[in-house]
């Protein structure tokens, strides 16, 4: 296939000619697809195997640096492999074109690279330049090669800059590009430029958004590096305890102010600093692997084996009892546990709030006054405990203090809770500070039903303002949450079909998936709606209510209503259950004390005295014994 005594064709005076007439057999421009096929043979069949062989040591180095996480080495190997690929391509093409006029692929398709102008001789460096530009075009995804369809002599950039042309003797040779070929390429380039502009614009916008989020990104990065920001801001630098950060993380996690990944990063941080493993480490691991019972329980067992009679062991026992929902065991552990760890107290407060033991919760909260990192948690729990413990004036004062210190979201949640609780008692609370905070001027359509306390506060406020004229059907159609749909449907039927309304409220009360606030509100409305003959069913549902806090609230509502209906038997049974649990409200005590004509009867919103409680107990016992005797 070597063409001897071959002189370059004269193309300079005949730009429109497609046939190149010389003393040699006719030559024509190489078909673009032949050039592409030749390039494919050169690259994929010849050069790629060679490149894979020569770059094998670099590949090994790259793999090692990737495994070891050595970024500089990794980048160097990538660059070296890229450089090697370029060298192989440029070297192969330069040598083949200079000494043979064609690469192996071109020779298979009978193509030649020849100088464009007669008499011009190309030196080796011309071919090197041509090959280098060719590689550059390859890196641009080969798009510059489309010039073979627009240039009259089918010469892309590398041919034009080096004064070469690719020709062939084969019958597959072609003319210069036709009009439609040139138009197609120009359209394609225009579309490409437009697309790239769009992509660049989107990328710039994305970069601007990322810059705005820099602060939270930095916090995430810090956390990924084992430095939980919230723990760092809470730990004193003077603290010499190597586990101080982990203890703070455990406390914050108990209070819901740090998540599991923060705990995990603190444990990893201890391992990185080679701090010896301690019971607190195993305790933290038990929380980290809480989803795997086998692993978590192993860690909990190890805590007490390693260090019995410590606060960590007590915490381990508490977690086990909590998982079993053995609340009496939890209470025992809390009573006996050593104080001062922080996280033990927080779990204690959570337990007391859950069990509606607000007195104990307040006592424990007093012990956490000095923990500034728990301020968010303490403030909120104090307000709720005071309110639920019938100390409303103190609760309002604590609320006003809390709202000033809490972040916006937590403050709104607390305000909404407080407002909804107050509105359940009286519509006069619409003008209270909590409702003023929780209910900015918002249209009914803007109520966020994802946040139950805020939604309930809004609905109660609307009812207070609009009386019974609220369009519950429209609300029910607009809301997507199924529990709220049932709630609004029940309210819509309240005047016309009390029976179905009561059934819907009962359904909501019994639904364990519905939010507790909504269930208690449904119970309140059911109690108000139910006829005397239906109260037995209400009592039965109340007795099996799963949440302690809700059970106490509903029970006291129920007793008041039964007392109004003068249903003495059921009322006294409810009162007895509440009294046994020490959960009678001051109003219930007042009602019962009224029966005894006791001068120590207390007001509606203050806790009962011990004397009153004793008298009520005696009343209840004697009344029920008399009834049993009858």
């Amino acid at each position: 296939m070597v063409i001897s005594n071959w002189t370059p064709p004269d193309l300079s005076n005949s730009p429109a000619e497609n046939r190149l007439v010389t003393t040699e057999p006719e030559l024509s421009l190489a078909r673009p697809l032949d050039r592409l096929a030749a390039a494919i043979i050169d690259i994929f069949i010849l050069l790629v195997p060679l490149y894979i062989l020569l770059s094998a040591p670099l590949k090994k180095w790259m793999m090692t640096s990737f495994i070891l996480g050595s970024e500089p080495d990794f980048v160097v190997t990538i660059l070296a492999m890229f450089f090697l690929a370029v060298m192989i391509l440029v070297g192969y093409q330069s040598v083949c074109h200079h000494f043979y006029g064609a690469t192996i692929g071109k020779r298979i398709y009978d193509l030649r690279v020849v100088p464009m102008f007669p008499g011009e001789k190309l030196v080796f460096w011309d071919h090197v330049l041509r090959s280098a530009i060719w590689v550059g075009e390859l890196l641009c995804l080969g798009l510059p090669w489309l010039a073979v369809y627009s240039n009259p002599k089918r010469r892309p950039m590398h041919d034009r800059l080096c004064d070469t042309v690719v020709v062939t003797r084969a019958p597959s040779g072609v003319r210069g590009p036709l009009h439609w070929e040139r138009s197609l390429v120009r359209t394609l380039f225009a579309a490409l430029i437009g697309f790239m502009t769009l992509v660049v614009a989107i990328q710039i916008r994305g970069a601007i958004d990322k810059l705005k989020m820099e602060k939270s990104l930095a916090a995430l990065v810090d956390r990924d590096l084992g430095d939980c920001e919230i723990v760092s801001s809470s730990v004193s630098e003077e603290d010499s305890d190597p586990h101080s950060r982990l203890k703070v993380a455990m406390t914050l996690y108990a209070a819901g102010l740090a998540d599991r990944s923060c705990l995990e990063s603190e444990v990893e941080g201890e391992i990185a600093k080679q701090i010896p493993v301690a019971p607190i480490t195993y305790l933290a691991q038990a929380f980290i692997y809480a989803d795997d019972a086998e692993i978590s329980n192993s860690y909990l067992d190890e805590v007490c084996e390693m260090a019995p009679e410590t606060v960590e062991c007590s915490m381990s026992q508490l977690v086990t009892s909590w998982s079993d929902e053995d609340w009496s065991a939890v209470a025992e552990v809390l009573k006996a546990a050593p104080k001062g760890s922080g996280y033990m107290e927080v779990w204690g407060i959570r337990h007391y709030m859950k069990q509606a033991q607000y007195g104990n919760a307040l006592t424990t909260l007093d012990g956490l006054l000095s923990n500034r990192e728990l301020a968010e948690f303490s403030l909120v729990q104090r307000v709720k405990a005071l309110f639920n413990f019938y100390k409303e004036p103190e609760a309002i004062a604590a609320f006003q203090q809390a709202v000033l210190s809490l972040p916006l979201e937590q403050g709104s949640d607390l305000s909404a809770w407080m407002c909804s609780q107050q509105l359940q008692n009286s519509c006069a609370a619409v003008s209270s500070p909590a409702c003023a905070q929780a209910l900015p001027d918002k249209a009914a359509t803007e109520i966020d039903f994802e946040h139950t306390s805020q939604a309930l506060a809004h609905v109660l406020a609307l009812e207070c303002k609009g009386g019974q004229g609220l369009d519950y059907m429209s609300f029910g159609e607009a809301v997507r949450d199924p529990d709220w749909q049932i709630f609004f449907a029940a309210n819509a039927n309240r005047t016309e079909d009390k029976k179905s309304s009561a059934e819907l409220f009962a359904q909501l009360l019994r639904s364990e998936k519905a939010p507790e606030l909504l269930r208690v509100e449904a119970a309140r409305r059911w109690v108000a709606l139910a006829s005397p003959s239906q109260m037995q069913e209400v009592v039965e549902s109340w007795l099996t209510f799963d949440s302690r806090e809700g059970w106490v609230k509903i029970g006291n509502m129920l007793f008041s209503r039964l007392a109004e209906q003068k249903n003495a038997e059921l009322a006294l049974r409810v009162a007895q259950r509440l009294a046994a649990d020490e959960s009678l409200s001051p109003l219930a005590v007042k009602i019962l004390a009224g029966i005894t004509n006791d001068p120590d009867a207390v007001g509606e919103r203050r806790p009962a005295s011990n004397k009153a409680k004793e008298q009520i107990k005696q009343l209840l016992d004697s009344t029920l014994k008399r009834e049993d005797g009858d």
Partner: protein, 349 residues
């Protein structure tokens, strides 16, 4: 893409040994898949267990820091040092690599660990499960591994494959080259070459890479030997290759006649690159076994050439080959001497 199409699809009666080997391998795969299903699922569950792998990685890191450094490659020591120093993102990877260290795996009972004792006990307990799965898994009982490097394993490993894709790849090349070779050296000759190449491939693998707790399985060493011998015996003869340049244009797909050594060069370069470019600790393709098989095939070829100066070529049938019948429209390009006329007489691709 370029792919050898030698004799086309040879009838089983013309290449009985090849077809028997293929079917036998398929039967073994079916058996091992069924017998090892439970063990395979158990092993996969263990491999997915992040806690177990992370614990193993941490324990292995401490083990490496206490052991003789010269026994282990530098990157492994360095990786262990990083995990020990708190880079726990790499602990899982190190845990995966630890499976290949038989000495470490066997020392689990006597090992002491200064760290999370719960994780350590959990790891020991899970390791007992892993051993149980391995003892029940055919790849471990029939493959070549450090636990039991007896001679029987040097032969049985050839017929065990890790999955259907692994089997398909090996059997495809066995059919292509084995059938063609069998017509030259007969069925007994092919069987001997196949088995001998497999055994020698295992030997080279043991010498260059080293047998570990991860078993060596697959017929690729044996198939490499068959391929190498065929290429040697038909060194300069033009063989048909199918090519495709991934684009639907005229001349971008067809047949081309190239000397047989082209296949050997392509295969050899691929295996050599793989050997030089991968870390043996990472497992995967056993390139040294491939190279061992190829060298064995070439050695057998040299011996045959020394014994018989000219090896008679079995005449190919005149009837068109199935591949030619299937693709009559495809052009055939000849580079170098062509054994027959091209379909169109055209030189262009």
């Amino acid at each position: 893409m370029i792919f050898p199409i030698l004799s086309g699809l040879v009838h089983p009666f013309r290449a009985p040994a090849t077809w028997l080997l293929v079917f036998f391998n398929m039967l073994v795969l079916i058996y091992t898949s069924i017998a090892g299903l439970e063990a395979q699922e158990g092993l996969e569950d263990v491999m997915k267990g992040k806690y177990f792998l992370t614990a193993q990685g941490r324990i292995y890191a401490q083990y490496l820091s206490n052991e003789n450094r010269f026994e282990y490659p530098d990157f492994l020591i360095e990786l262990g040092r990083k995990v020990d120093g708190g880079e726990l993102t790499r602990a899982e990877m190190l845990g995966q690599l630890a499976f290949r260290d038989l000495k470490f795996m066997n020392s689990s009972e006597s090992l002491s660990y200064d760290g999370d004792q719960v994780a350590f006990r959990y790891w020991r307990h899970k390791l007992d499960d892993v051993r149980g799965f391995q003892e029940a898994h055919p790849s471990f009982t029939l493959g070549l591994n450090a636990e039991d490097p007896s001679f029987g394993k040097w032969v049985s490993y050839i017929f065990v494959h890790s999955g259907s894709l692994h089997l398909f790849g090996n059997m495809l090349f066995l059919l292509i080259f084995g059938a063609a070779l069998e017509r030259q050296i007969r069925s007994v000759g092919l069987t001997i070459v196949f088995l001998l190449s497999g055994v020698m491939a295992a030997g080279v693998f043991a010498l260059m890479t080293g047998v570990t707790s991860s078993p060596l399985v697959g017929a690729s060493g044996a198939v490499s030997g068959v391929m190498a011998l065929y290429c040697f015996l038909n060194w300069g003869r033009p063989e048909r290759f199918f090519y495709w340049f991934f684009l639907p244009f005229r001349g971008f797909m067809g047949f081309v006649f190239l000397p047989a050594w082209v296949a050997l060069i392509i295969w050899g370069i691929n295996d050599l690159s793989g050997y030089l470019g991968t870390l043996p600790e990472m497992g995967g393709v056993a390139y040294t076994a491939h190279l061992g098989g190829e060298l064995t095939g070439l050695a057998i070829g040299l011996i045959l050439y020394a014994v018989r100066r000219k090896w008679p070529l079995v005449e190919r049938p005149e009837t068109p080959q199935p591949m030619g019948k299937l693709f009559p429209f495809l052009p055939q390009v000849s580079i170098g001497p062509s054994p027959r006329k091209t379909n169109s007489g055209s030189q262009a691709a």
